[in-house]
Symmetry: C2
Subunit: 217 residues, 2 copies
DNA sequence: GACTCTCTAGAGTATATACTCTAATAATAT
DNA sequence: ATATTATTAGAGTATATACTCTAGAGAGTC
């Protein structure tokens, strides 16, 4: 593998493990057994590394959120989107953690992330539209749709942070992929009242698969 | 005012303005025109300052979330809670920003914050119970209540972060108190389907007062 | 006036961090 | 083989940051 790619991979791994704030360029170099000079030959600075990782993340999410416009959506579609999005969230979980600081220090990233957010929100709305057409969710007032999508977005992107703060110990990376998936439980809770009555039972059923076991300890 | 209190006040102000990560103890001292030595005479370290500020925040929120148990709750109660909580959020807005890092570096704070979260979640559930009794919201399955409360909590505590990232410019502290209050719009959106039909119109009405003007730009 | 206790100044320190510079080595082209 | 280019090592630097240490000023007490 090219050194450049190794750097990106190691950075992502370390960021996810320890948080961007706790990982220095020297750490990354040391982790790979290369010199700082070598790292800076491939990247102008730390922000550049983060930005490239963001681009990968963005690409992945865009791929996950491709929505067929030639057919309505069903329950399996919805679950597929949820699983995919939380998968992406897991792979790049460092990102939403130090987000504000990252955006503060890289204008390019800030602009791109803003557009990214808006695209995601649009996709969520589109998914709801598809599900409405598919008879899974009830038709909602136009006026509510944007705010609903935003709430879904808030729950999804901040579930990880909540888990981390709710955990008793901070033993490195104590949040597991499974726990993250419990965010799906929260999103399904959110959607419950909007479902067509026929689907309520089925979704409640699916939802139990994601039930957190530790909540409220 | 005592130097000790001045330090707490100035720290809170600077943290809110620039983010905890961007404010050093030397900055705080310089801002007050006192020496670093003086600052460290009053506080053992930066974590201690943060911890004391957290205690104030906690006290404020606890005060706001006192819930009368001798009567059911009405719509005005609900709006009062929302307004209060978002007020507290505004006054200590730095806190939820670098939360994960703060908790990683102060075990005492982590434990306290965890308990704080659980108390808040319990309060939210209690408020829902009161509103149910008051005939404002429909009775929900026991099983849903915890997850609903958690979603409300997620939206409330992360609304600020969303605003910051959604903003185009990072011109220092460009998020206003009014914009923060638009989080109430989101929470009301969340609650909408659970309301008793009689209250729907009124809440929709109230909700328009908090409508964001910039969303989706 | 001597003594004590609280508070403050300010220079200073150890460590960390992002990043640079030079020289050398490996790879490739001619 | 030689020239050129891409890659790497590794020592080094400027700056920042959390925090320490010593000395001394004020205020109150005996």
């Amino acid at each position: 593998m090219k050194t450049r790619d190794k750097i990106l991979l190691a950075s992502l791994e370390l960021f996810n493990d320890k948080g961007e704030r706790n990982v220095t360029t020297n750490h990354i170099a040391a982790h790979l057994g290369i010199s700082p000079g070598n790292l800076y030959y491939h990247f102008r600075n730390k922000s550049d590394i983060i930005y490239e990782i963001f681009l990968e993340y963005e690409k992945l999410v865009n791929y996950y959120l491709e929505i067929p416009d030639d057919r309505p959506l069903g329950l399996p579609d919805m679950m597929f989107y949820l699983e995919s999005v939380f998968d992406g969230l897991w792979s790049y979980r460092f990102f939403h953690r130090d987000l504000e600081f990252l955006l503060d220090n890289d204008e390019r990233l800030r602009d791109d992330y803003r557009k990214f957010t808006n695209r995601c929100l649009a996709s969520i709305k589109q998914i709801f539209a598809g599900l409405t057409e598919g008879g899974v969710v009830q038709r909602q007032a136009e006026e509510l749709q944007g705010a609903m999508a935003l709430n879904v977005w808030l729950v999804i992107t901040n579930w990880m942070a909540f888990l981390k703060t709710a955990h008793a110990s901070h033993e490195s990376d104590s949040v597991s992929r499974d726990e993250l998936k419990q965010g799906i439980f929260q999103v399904l809770t959110l959607e419950m009242p909007y479902l067509m009555p026929d689907y309520r039972e089925e979704v409640l059923q699916i939802r139990t698969r994601y039930r957190p076991d530790l909540l409220g300890d």
